[in-house]
Amino acid sequence: MLFQQLINGLTIGTAYALVTIGFTMIYGVLELTNFAHSSYYMLGAYLCVSFMNLIGLDVLGFLLGTIGAILVCGTISALTDKLALGVIRKRGGAAISALLCTIGIQTVINNAIILGYGSETRQFINVFNLGRFKIGPATVSWMQVIIATVAILIMLLLTFIIRRTKFGAGMRAISQNQRAAQMMGVKVNKIIQWTFFISASVSALSGVLIGMYYRTLEVNMATVVGSKAFAAALLGGIGELPGAVIGGFVIGVLESFVAGYVSSGYRDAIAFAVLIVVLVVRPQGILGKKIHHKV
């Protein structure tokens, strides 16, 4: 029972972690809480189903559908920056204005999905059908293994991009001082748009994986994952990639334990209560570094 809860928690945690990574990337660069971020999680899953219905309900259809969903979500996300958020930045709008703008974008996307697909729960056909195996007392499905593998690969890739590439250096520079970054020759707007593209793609991928895991799509899946990702990001120390991953896992495991041992009704309440306690006791998050500010 304990072990099983842990494995289930880790699987949900993987999804949270992936969404959180994208979320924390944008926060890291712009200090912007992107409320639209979780919408790409849902949009990705729905688009993938649509593409599969067009191409074919098999592995090929799934793969092409996933790629299509990722590209569409990434493009939409990059466009929102080019057409809306970037304009607000350029006009010197307050940070909170951009935040409200992302809330507007979220409202549009989430409700456009309801408009296009209807509000009833939809099936996500599992094309792999790989079965499951046992480790000790717990049952693990191959789907869980796939999700974990893909997620870990993506996390490693993104960590590499941010830590080792010029693109990543540019991102970090922008996050700390935009003017100076420009003066170093960093193409600020281009990098920000790519960051939006990448973050939404990862979110969409996560939506596809989790959709396939639960085999259902619901119209409230975005809002459910959104506040969790938000919480996980802060828990791990916002702006820190490994922190985002750990934060995601902690929230996932915590939830599944509370649901298993306390009451599923209070599942979210306790997750948030723990979060509040952590933030009050350790404001910089689990992995966040405490910086000594010069006065």
Binding site: S97, G104, V108, F230, A231, I276, L279
Partner: protein, 346 residues
């Protein structure tokens, strides 16, 4: 053309700022007279909701606009006020003269305790801490069945009456809501125009400098956090009596976001702006009622377009008090010297 447009806007804003009292008074007269024309139950109810939302937005603006703390959990205090009034009303059959202050106090106590623990945290953490608090309150409301009625909520909250007078008529309720709104606006304005207000603004602009000038940042933050929650509690208590029904779904984190949108849309830190924002976002869903399926999409799109068009909200760029002073001062200069303000542009 564009220049002409922005110039005329500037002139209007200047006029408005100089005559702020007159404008406010005229608005009050209009608000008092409106029921003569708009006299159906539906319209009066919409106007009452505008007042309730304005109370919420104005109180949130004190926290977010004046002090600079973004709260995503204002609806929690709104809900606490509503549940307090509903429970006191249904179980003890208490009158609004008790339930309204009780709603304020319970919301205030909750905010005080939360603030005591968390208000020192950085602003971005407070956003998520308040969000978390909002979710927790909702979940408790949903699950503490014996006390809150769970998802069913609480029905038949007593009608509004005062000293034996029945105030539950459509007109009475509107005027009561308007009265509460004026009470909120004047209390907050008076505070913001005093040394307390200056201290609050200074914290928003530079915490370390404020602290170094002798402003006790912690207690001021706690004060504003508690104070703004109390008015949310007041709005909630009125809401419970107005609809005679409360349900956890009215006080979710999404509702907090709507409240925050009102503040930002109207212009953060601007009292008239906040009220305009509250009225627009209260009316918008009603206006879009005929487009049920498209309603939310249009609603979201309008927010995006408005924010792109005016990134600082409608009135966010204008501080009426400062504009008034500047206009007065430049008049003084031109009168004395009869020449342009060379010194001021140096």
């Amino acid at each position: 053309m564009k220049k002409l447009f922005s110039k005329s806007i500037k002139r209007i804003i200047e006029k408005w700022a100089v005559n702020e009292w007159k404008v406010a008074f005229s608005c009050l007269i209009i608000a008092l007279a409106l029921p003569i024309v708009l006299n159906t139950r539906y319209l009066l109810s919409v106007m009452t909701i505008c007042c309730v939302n304005s109370i919420l937005a104005v109180s949130l603006n004190m926290l977010t606009g004046y002090l600079g703390i973004t709260s995503l959990g204002h609806a929690a205090f709104y809900g606490l006020g509503a549940y307090t009034a509903a429970i006191l009303g249904t179980r003890f059959e208490l009158n609004i003269i008790v339930t309204l202050p009780a709603g304020m106090i319970i919301a205030g106590i909750a905010a005080f305790l939360l603030g005591l623990a968390a208000i020192r945290a950085p602003s971005r953490h407070l956003a998520i801490i308040t969000l978390g608090f909002c979710e927790i309150v909702k979940i408790v409301e949903l699950n503490w069945f014996s006390f809150t009625g769970g998802a069913n909520g609480i029905h038949s909250v007593p009608r509004i009456s005062l000293l034996g007078w029945d105030l539950s008529g459509k007109y009475a309720k509107y005027y009561l809501a308007l009265f509460l709104l004026i009470l909120t606006i004047s209390t907050i304005s008076l505070i913001m125009h005093s040394k307390i207000g200056r201290a609050i603004y200074s914290i928003r602009d530079n915490e370390i400098a404020a602290e170094s000038m002798g402003v006790n940042v912690f207690s001021y933050k706690l004060f504003v956090f508690t104070f703004s929650a109390m008015f949310a509690g007041l709005a909630g208590a009125f809401y419970a009596h107005h609809f005679s029904y409360v349900s956890p779904l009215s006080f979710t984190f999404e509702q907090s976001i709507v409240l925050l949108s009102m503040v930002i849309l109207g212009g953060i830190g601007s009292m008239p702006g906040t009220i305009i924002g509250a009225i627009i976002l209260s009316l918008l869903p009603e206006l879009l009622r005929d487009f049920t399926t498209w309603r939310q999409v249009i609603y979201g799109a309008i927010i995006v377009i408005l924010m792109v068009a005016r990134p600082s909200g409608m009135l966010g760029k204008y501080n009426f008090k400062h504009i008034r002073q500047q206009v007065k001062y430049s008049k003084l200069l031109t009168k004395n010297e009869n020449k342009p303000l060379e010194k001021m542009t140096g």
